[in-house]
């Protein structure tokens, strides 16, 4: 009997990759508008390279971009980048299509709901609160807060314990086959791979750990209902068999 559904956050509930790309493009455009003497394509591709090297949570992207471009450290250009980046992130943060409907239906059905996500705790909470998703969740588990990252079993076990359910009573929904699906399967949860965003065609070697593959979050509702119905029917059959 499924009692709890866990969701990954980035590119599962929140459209993070699209947003980040838009924010970076706007940042570079605004830097150029305020005097950065480089064409858009050069600056943007350097920024993307830099982010790939230093990670997306590195907080000196724009300083380092100037260094890479052999330009002086001009705080005006950095400020222009920061402003456009933040404005875009605040104005265009969106939940993934179908996310709110899926959460609402699951809540109505009485399921416990949780988030299991990697990343910086304050930034992850910012997304949840800005989208006003916080009231849906009984608990939010963030790896950098707990000191353990997906797919390590510990973060899933902590989540199960806190929600007071066994692994067979929980479903994990996420876009990453490695961290979400392989991770949750290791501890014995049911797994739903959300084939979405930049990981839709990556990490396919872990596909075998996905019990279900979906293209729309609303499919989660039927899957979870189906799992419980199936179990009920099995139980009924067993009763008849007695």
């Amino acid at each position: 009997m499924i009692k709890v559904v866990f969701f990954d956050l980035d590119d599962t509930l929140v459209d993070t990759t699209k947003l980040a790309e838009m924010a970076r493009r706007n940042a570079v455009e605004n830097m150029i508008r305020h005097g950065l003497p480089v064409d858009f394509e050069t600056a943007y591709s350097e920024l993307i390279e830099l982010i790939n090297e230093y990670g997306s949570n590195f907080n000196r992207h724009f300083d380092y971009l100037l260094r890479r471009l052999d330009l002086p450290n001009n705080p005006k250009w950095i400020a222009a980048g920061v402003i456009a980046y933040h404005n875009t992130k605040f104005a265009h943060l969106k939940s993934v299509k179908g996310a709110r409907k899926a959460l609402l239906e699951l809540k109505k059905d009485g399921f416990g709901l949780g988030v299991i996500t990697d990343g910086d705790p304050i930034k992850q909470w910012e997304k949840i609160i800005r989208l006003e998703l916080d009231d849906f969740f009984d608990n939010v588990f963030i790896s950098d807060y707990l000191g353990v990252k997906k797919p390590h079993p510990k973060i899933f076990k902590k989540a199960l314990k806190k929600m007071d359910v066994g692994p067979s009573e929980a479903v994990m929904v996420g876009d990453r086959l490695y961290s979400d699906i392989y991770g949750a399967k290791q501890v014995g949860m049911k797994t739903v791979w959300f084939r979405y965003g930049k990981y839709a065609n990556r990490e396919l070697e872990y596909l075998e750990y996905a019990d279900f593959t979906i293209r729309s979050l609303e499919e989660v509702i039927e899957i979870v209902r189906g799992l419980n119905l199936e179990e009920k029917e099995c139980a009924d059959t067993e009763v008849h068999a007695d």
Copy 2:
């Protein structure tokens, strides 16, 4: 002959103190709304104490607030504070009444314009760019970028040199008698004390360094025009006297 007018930024051109107070109040309110188990007055007064102790550019105010209140480090509450703080700062950033008019008139009269300010270079540029004030200024001098703080003569001398004028050809306008007025006077500039904001009744021991005191920024226009007229009249008189 006055050729250049320098302005301080915070609480001279930009309404910083009012904005920061509003942002902090909204931050505390949003933290409570998201579960911070403390009443508003307690939390707000602890935050103000903390800012007075650690400085307004310290970037862990909300973490430290929780520590002071003997509460666990809950990233949800911190995120709620950060969101409300940023939203307020972005939505309510305003130039001081009369600032834009004064800049426009001075520009029309052909004066060179500059900013001489303390603070973090990126944050200071953010304010200037967000308010779209950047096109008014020939140069912006920020202490944390130049490595020297007001009232040290060096920052004023650097500004004069870059603008290619002598001290008697420049006016400094600012709200702080110590850093702006005493500082600029030391190098020989004309000084206009803008009696505004939280420093309107402080540092009065430096009042003697103010050539003019104003309550509205628009008064700067007449002062500068007056100074140049006076000089012209003196020169004319000297010609007649010959």
